[in-house]
Subunit: 494 residues, 2 copies
């Protein structure tokens, strides 16, 4: 078997091999039950490392294209469609235990349901330009520096880095976080910081502690999709507060506090997900005052607060906290790298110890090794330098996207240019419905996040969320041009 490999490609070798084999299997060049060369043979033939071949085979196996018989070898599986239909059949209602059948009747998470309805697939093909993601530019990930930090830390701390570590998180990293927060005007003690497995876990800990089935939670409408699923899974009732260009419409909050008695307010005050807008200074003060007056905790999600490209920075709600009302959450996923899964929360008062206890029963602790490497990587100076670089790149990309939107969008398309963050929230021309647009866009090989995913209750179907940080200007121009074609086609289909 001759497998073409390209050592200069961005695509890792193991993936090139896996992709080639998949196309051979799908086209029928490789028939079911064909025995593949051993990893050793193929490594020799291609002049590459055996571990690379193993990785390819593992990927193919996980995807169901091949299977391994221990002591015999690796074989091409029957076509994947067969596998799926066999699975479907096996999952028919009657073959599983009764307690499992009952699970089928349980409510599905709202945004999962919406994803299903729209037909969102998690495996977007390589030739699709996707604006759907929630992360920053991969080329800015400090992979090399981080690799060195990992190496240094394992040499320095040896096996200590591989033990369980402190439930609350690695103490020096907590100290570093207080320094980063101090540079943003938040004064915190390391003893009030709790390291979490991404900020998603911080939300889960706080909501798990403070929300009970039937409780009301106020959220922005629209808001972060996975937070909607989290709060819903706890049986909470989500009440949306509309968002305008100055963020959550806080003047509507007091009435809600009086009438629906929420147990918590969840807000993304800076460069909000998905709208990109920021809560004004006045509204920030007003919201914190309301929380104090009505005795309601605020969960502050500062996922990209650092990524401001222009305009005056606003104080964090935590910075305005009169004492114990605001639980602040931050993350290294957006600024550095999502694959680390390190976030944190800052909480004062008795709530901290209870969140710590929940952290322990949830997953004992976040990876000690990753925390130590992160601590070795982030000096305040390095963080500032990385932030500076990220801001410069993302500001240019935001400007490119706005320019391309002006070029390619039909009349009637609207958006507010955000002052920071990762997202532009685009309102489609009248009559273009996001669920109709989605399949058309995929035909054009462009992808986005449908706006209907982000609504806690009554959905709106005429917005989409675009991530402007992920692609360079050329790819962005191509993607937005494709999107324009899809929208125009949708308008004609009406």
């Amino acid at each position: 078997m001759r497998i073409p490999i390209d050592r200069e490609s961005q695509l890792p070798l193991y993936k090139q091999i896996a992709n080639f084999l998949i196309s051979e299997i799908q086209s029928g060049e490789l028939l079911p039950a064909t025995k593949l060369p051993s990893t050793r043979e193929m490594a020799l033939e291609l002049g590459i490392n055996r571990i690379t071949v193993s990785s390819s085979y593992a990927e193919l196996e996980a995807k169901g294209y091949i299977y391994t018989r221990l002591g015999s070898g690796t074989y091409v599986a029957s076509p994947i469609e067969d596998h799926r239909s066999r699975n479907k059949e096996a999952q028919s209602k009657t073959s599983w235990p009764l307690w499992q059948q009952r699970l089928l009747a349980q409510s599905v998470l709202p945004t999962e349901l919406e994803r299903d309805r729209i037909g969102i697939s998690t495996s977007i093909k390589d030739d699709v330009i996707s604006f759907a993601g929630g992360q920053g530019a991969v080329e800015l990930f400090p992979a090399d520096d981080f690799r060195k930090s990992l190496y240094t830390v394992l040499l320095r701390d040896k096996t200590e880095a591989l033990e369980y570590g402190d439930y609350a998180g690695y103490a020096p990293l907590r100290a570093t976080i207080t320094h980063i927060l101090a540079s943003q005007g938040i004064h915190a003690q390391p003893g009030n910081i709790l390291i979490t497995t991404g900020s998603q876990q911080a939300f889960a800990l706080v909501a798990g502690l403070l929300l009970h089935p039937g409780d009301v939670i106020l959220v922005e409408s629209p808001t972060y999709a996975t937070a909607i699923d989290l709060f819903s899974s706890l049986g909470a009732q989500l009440v949306g507060v509309p968002v305008d260009e100055y963020g959550m419409q806080v003047d509507l909050v007091e009435d809600l506090l009086r009438t629906v008695h929420p147990k918590m307010i969840y807000t993304i005050p800076s460069f909000q997900n998905p709208t990109g807008v920021s809560l004004s200074g006045g509204r920030r003060r007003q919201l914190v005052a309301l929380a104090e007056h009505y005795n309601v905790p605020i969960l502050e999600d500062e996922f990209v607060g650092d990524l401001r490209y222009e305009g005056r920075s606003q104080p964090a709600l935590k910075g305005l906290d009169p004492g114990g009302y605001v639980i602040y959450t931050g993350t290294f996923s957006k600024m550095l790298m999502p694959g680390l899964r390190v976030g944190y929360l800052l909480a004062c008062g008795p709530v901290y110890e209870r969140l710590l206890a929940r952290k322990r029963i949830t997953d004992l602790a976040t990876s000690n090794l990753i925390q130590r490497a992160l601590e070795a990587y982030i000096t305040v100076g390095r963080y500032e330098a990385h932030l500076h670089r990220a801001r410069r790149t993302y500001r240019l990309r935001r400007d490119s996207m706005v320019a391309e939107l002006k070029n390619h969008m039909p009349d009637g398309t609207k958006w507010i240019t955000p002052q920071g963050g990762l997202f532009i929230w685009v309102q489609l021309p009248e009559g273009v419905i996001v669920n109709k647009l989605y399949p058309e866009a995929l035909k054009e090989k462009v992808d986005f996040a449908p706006g209907s995913l982000f609504y806690p209750a009554e959905k709106s179907f005429n917005h989409i969320r675009l991530n402007f940080a992920m692609h360079n200007p050329e790819r962005m121009a191509e993607g937005i041009s494709r999107l324009g074609v899809a929208i125009r086609r949708c308008m004609r289909l009406k």
Copy 2:
């Protein structure tokens, strides 16, 4: 300031410096408000890397011994006792929001409460020989190989290793896990594996899905302490099934299934925590048959199933599963390194998708980088080799501990020699109560896990759990000798 450092010591340099400064501060040699040298100055003076000094300072700051004024320098803080009393005062009931004050009234987790009662401190001093931990021997952690795997993976996959990755876990790692399971007689598809942040998260996902407030769960009595806290936190009612030398007394289970209608059975069938005993083959079959007949899911915790030193291996409950009744959990924490925080569960049927959805809202995914490094590290062959090494070392250590117990324990002390795992469960001589023994043991500078932590309901106070894997024979002999002294003193105190 002359700081003595020892480059040959096992203790990392940054910790040596931190420890020295703590002793200087505690003894009053360094007075509050004294300015410390800058990290640059101290690094130059000691001829070490600046990052090492920064790590020391960060640790001291996290512990409250020093504080940093941005742009000014680092200073010795007021004595730590002052800090604590200030904190206590600040946490007085009246100064926090009402919603926080209400939290104070909420029930505390049962084993947390028991820890408080016994006075267990999480910061055990260096000169204490501790048999309390739940992990393997640090000197067996494959730190060097893992460092190389991390390095290789970051060179190979580059930024791809730092993206979010698949919610279910890195596909090639899931495939590898199915191969490891196959070698243990469990046939699994990668599509039924869900990677979790340690097996603790697997328990949290399963219990969160299947248990509701008021539901009964059957557990072994005694059982894993943090599982008790987890199930209790969900409002479940724990019913204990006593354990004898053949594991859970399964003949008592049918009556309980009929009378208390449990929604789940949680069991640690192999080298149980804390007793070290294993469920016999007959009881395994009986338990699975009961689960099928009474339509109850089994959560199987196989935390050290691989670590068998003698005797015939028993099939996993999952291997006996007639279809979808058993949810199996495994972990790399014990066999490899706890600091990775990588475990997994194996579930078939509709329950899998629902666990996956909960994983997503809990923390999105487990660190992609760590998963890829683990996958690169664990070939089946390497895993077997590591397992072989671990088994040899731990068998010898178990034998040493048994020998030392025979040497040093007073008459009336009893234990069952376990055939594998990490723990020996020791029954104290009549009249010696674990809560009385604990402070005596700490005086002798030896530590253990008090048995009362492990009981779901009615506690027993005459057992302790000893970890035999963590210390070499010399240190083990010294530790058990100290324990013998403490027990005898306790007997005289009666």
